[in-house]
Amino acid sequence: MTRQDHVRKWTIYALALLPVWWLEVYVLNRFPVLGVVPMLLPVAAVTVAVLEGTVAGAGFGLGVGILCDAVYYGGWGGMTLGLCLLGWGAGAAAQYALRRNFGGSLLCAAAALAVIAAARVVSGLFTGLAHLPALLEVAVPELLWSLCFVCPLYPWFFWVRRRIHKFLRL
């Protein structure tokens, strides 16, 4: 793949991320389910990582992490490093241990969301935000509701990947 092809490929992935971001910021946050709104961007980062492998997963995770830290309230750089590591990990798992399919994507997303939830709970306990049961009451439904979005996001990015390959004649 030439450098130009790489630029085209990642531009298409970035454009494919826009409707996901729009859905998260303008639609789903108005309709909480079980009292929570889902996290779509980490799921999107992990899904692309599963489809594209370690290096691309880390790169896409880095991009999505920067977006999260820049756009969302309270960003301090944690998502930049966190999503890069999770993208890298998901890419490595899909490349060397799991299959690059819906099942692999679901497992990686579950692991990534669990890591994010655990980090938030620990941080909440550390800062005295609330007691453990109260934090878990938010973290667990958030994880489960976000995980449901692997169902639409995996086919979406799978379709985007196929279009990219067709477009770039790979």
């Binding site: 303008y26 946050n29 929570v36 709104v37 290096v55 880390a58 756009v71 750089g77 490595a92």
Partner: protein
């Protein structure tokens, strides 16, 4: 192992670690202001967010007109009646103000003053996190908005406090956010207490009133205002009403759960208090 990392994006991981460290240092240094990248993204996306917000408002208007026409008509009639009543009250108040001025002059008292400088703003985005209650507004430091400014709705009810002001946007934590803490005044008893956001109550869009004086008699429905003590926030902004009164786990002190007066769900336009001068 070394080769594995070298062939599998080690440089990207190092770049991510450096960027994260840079962002963390930036957020620590620029408290109350966004880091440069955050600001640029905010500046670029604000017009888009404004557009989407306007489009959503228009769609909501059409939906309400189509499906809630009768409700809107009933609400309109109720508001007309309320307006007539308020106009009468305003006439009485005007006479009372004039009388008050005359009496103050007779007694040689200092003139009361309450000057608030407002900046109107629209809500361009709402919180996407379950861990904080925030809103993004369409005005920022270019319009004189700064961190710590109070935000009220059209009726003057407190909506939140500006936490971060970008060039043409700002982020506000709402009154129910778990990190909120400010002085409060119980309107009926004139007792001072502390308003605190609570993580568990945040999802129910409520907050806590704590450090209540021992002998204060609390009633559900009591109005809670900002105390203005300390001079950081203006006084007498309506925060909400007492929904319920509880005793804490130790059994030693009481706290009240407050329902905010501002309807956080349906807000579209708000007013930022950029400056205030209150003499009582």
């Amino acid at each position: 192992m070394k080769d594995f990392f070298r062939n599998n994006g080690l440089l990207i991981l190092i770049a991510a670690a450096l960027l994260a460290a840079l962002t963390a240092v930036g957020s620590y240094l620029f408290q109350g202001a966004p880091n440069p990248l955050e600001n640029v993204l905010g500046v670029v996306t604000t017009p888009i967010r404004d557009g989407i917000s306007a489009l959503a408002g228009w769609a909501e208007g059409i939906y309400n007109y189509s499906f809630h026409y009768e409700e809107l008509q009933a609400e309109n009639e109720r508001l007309r009646a309320e307006l007539a009543q308020l106009q009468e009250t305003a006439r009485d108040a005007e006479a009372a103000v004039k009388e008050n001025e005359r009496l103050r002059e007779l007694l040689g008292l200092r003139e009361q003053r309450r000057e608030l400088t407002f900046e109107s703003a629209t809500i361009t985005a709402r919180s996407t996190s379950n861990w904080a209650s925030t809103m993004t507004l369409s005005k920022g430091s270019a319009q004189g908005v700064a961190a710590g400014d109070c935000v009220v709705d059209a009726a003057g009810n407190l909506v939140g406090i500006i936490d971060e002001a970008g060039t043409n946007w700002s982020t506000m934590i709402t009154v129910v956010d778990a990190t909120l803490e400010m002085g409060a005044l119980l309107s009926r008893t004139e007792s001072i207490a502390i308003l605190e956001g609570d993580f568990t109550l945040m999802a129910q869009e409520r907050l806590k009133l704590t450090y209540l004086p021992e002998n204060t008699e609390l009633l559900t429905g009591d109005l809670v205002l900002t105390s203005g003590l300390g001079g950081n926030y203006p006084s007498d902004l309506v925060v909400g009403t007492i929904a319920s009164i509880h005793t804490d786990a130790s059994g030693m002190s009481r706290y009240a759960v407050i329902t905010p007066a501002a309807d956080l769900e349906s807000l579209v336009q708000v007013f930022i208090i950029k400056d205030f001068d209150i003499v009582e």
